[in-house]
């Protein structure tokens, strides 16, 4: 038996720039490319998921207005369908600042209703998806709590620096704030993001510190997402996910082919084309992380099913 609630994952950390949006987009995108039905929820007023997926400024991009109205006024909101095959998005953006203010006001009157605003808004279709990933804002406590109240799992990206790890402890406090209304919320894992692969000692020190903070080495994913500045920048510039950029780079003319074309009097094909070869390593990392996430979800769902079955036969 599997159940819908187990497949809503809030990607959360109280600090910005730790890879929440990039991980949300790339893991979600790769799963959708594999045929899973995926919904991404951009709960960040910065709305950067739009750049990651390339719909910024298009008709699909309402700057978070529909989602903000749903949160502030307890209405439902329809996802933008087919941003990629099998991939739908609840679009975020600056309008979510208004939603955060509205939720803060609601929280004064009815704290539980403010916390469950997102869960209520997506209740009509959340079970239609194989996986739902929520890209949480770094600040905006009410929005973070709404995300955590709607989620079964929290996935926490951190960088190796101490302030990122402090953000991790802030998340623990946010988890405690919603556990009264969402006692099933659990930690899916912590993933290191933006790791310089040459700085092995820094990475090892961070792993040890996180393990000490959380009391268990098992919560850390073995995969760390590498720092690849050029590829990260080019993916956003082109609105491509890492694996899509990798494919575009591999399909683009090689340097000698471009040179040959230029000397033969043809336009320099691909002069402005994709060129970040580090996209391959980045795509490898996201694939490995996605495989670990699938394995953890499958394992924990199987364990929950076993417990439920055992309990039911007693």
């Amino acid at each position: 038996m599997s159940y819908a609630g187990s497949r809503v994952v809030a990607v959360v950390n109280g600090k910005g720039g730790v890879g929440k949006t990039t991980i949300t987009a790339n893991v979600g995108g790769m799963l959708a490319a594999g045929g899973a039905r995926v919904l991404l929820i951009d709960l960040d007023p910065q709305g950067n998921l739009a750049e990651e997926l390339g719909y910024a400024g298009t008709d699909a991009d309402d700057d978070g207005l529909a989602l903000a109205q749903a949160l502030a006024f307890s209405t439902t909101v329809t996802p933008r369908l087919g941003i990629r095959d099998h991939l739908d998005v609840l679009v975020g953006g600056s309008q979510l600042d208004m939603a955060a203010a509205g939720l803060t006001m609601r929280a004064h009157k009815d704290p539980a209703a403010a916390k469950t605003a997102l869960a209520d808004a997506i209740a009509g279709y959340v079970e239609d998806y194989d996986l739902v990933l929520i890209d949480c804002p770094p600040g905006q406590e009410t929005l973070q709590q709404a995300a955590l109240a709607a989620a079964r799992w929290a996935l926490i990206p951190v960088k190796t620096d101490a302030s990122s790890r402090k953000g991790l402890r802030d998340v623990a406090r946010r988890l405690e704030a919603v556990v009264d209304i969402n006692p099933d919320l659990d930690l899916l894992g912590v993933v290191l993001f933006g790791v310089n692969r040459a700085a092995r000692r820094v990475s090892d020190t961070a792993r040890a510190a996180i393990t000490a903070d959380l009391g268990s080495p098992e919560v850390l994913f073995a995969t760390a997402i590498r720092h690849a500045e050029a590829a990260a920048q080019e993916t956003r510039d082109r609105g491509l996910l890492a694996y899509e950029l990798e494919e575009a780079v591999l399909a683009a003319p090689k340097w000698y082919e471009r040179l040959r074309g230029a000397t033969a009097g043809q336009p320099a094909a691909g002069g402005e084309g994709p060129r970040s070869r580090s996209a391959t390593g980045l795509a490898e990392d996201f694939q490995a992380l996605g495989e670990e996430i699938i394995a953890r979800l499958s394992h924990r769902e199987a364990a929950a099913t076993a417990v439920a079955t055992t309990g039911g036969t007693r």
Binding site: T78, A119, E246, E247
Partner: protein
């Protein structure tokens, strides 16, 4: 500028077990428990439909004076009964477009405008009343037959006709 991704990606994540059946725990359970204080469709049905066993918390707008959406102090959702329905994806997007157009016309370029906020649910209620106005017209044993009896094209054709 966006470059189209290749049709069959080299990297794709597979192996996530597909979901089946209705949810029994997690968020759905959470949502249900959080709605414990909110009437579900059955609980909230008007008393005259359920007889004496109903303890409907739905507020009668007439008792508060004013119109359904204007009665002071009573949120509109408390005046209405929740009834969820599955719709075709084309209907959902067309309905959203229509709602948006009506609200834009209502606001006339301003922020608030006149009248009340139109939602998808508002239009669904209007459509239901339109249907219930002359229920004898409905004839048939399939959705397509029912559609034909009220002058609508078959579903497949309607889907193709949508912009």
């Amino acid at each position: 500028m966006s470059t189209d991704p290749a049709p069959s990606p080299r990297r794709a994540l597979a192996g996530l077990p597909p979901r089946n059946g209705r949810p029994t725990a997690g968020v759905a359970r959470l949502i249900r428990s959080n709605r414990a204080d909110e009437p579900d469709a059955t609980e909230a049905a008007p008393a005259e439909l359920l007889g004496s066993r109903s303890t409907s918390p739905v507020v009668d707008p007439q008792a508060h004076g004013g119109t359904e959406s204007q009665s002071p102090g009573v949120p509109k959702y408390l005046q209405l009964v929740r009834r969820e329905a599955r719709m075709h994806s084309g209907q959902v997007s067309e309905l959203a477009n229509l709602t948006r157009a009506l609200n834009e016309a209502r606001r006339g370029g301003g922020r608030s405008g006149v009248g009340e906020r139109i939602t998808d649910n508002t239009l669904v209620r209007v459509a239901v009343d339109l249907l219930l106005q002359d229920p004898q017209r409905l004839r048939g044993t399939t959705e397509d037959e029912l559609r034909a009896s009220v002058g609508l094209p078959p579903l497949e054709q309607a889907t193709q006709d949508q912009p």
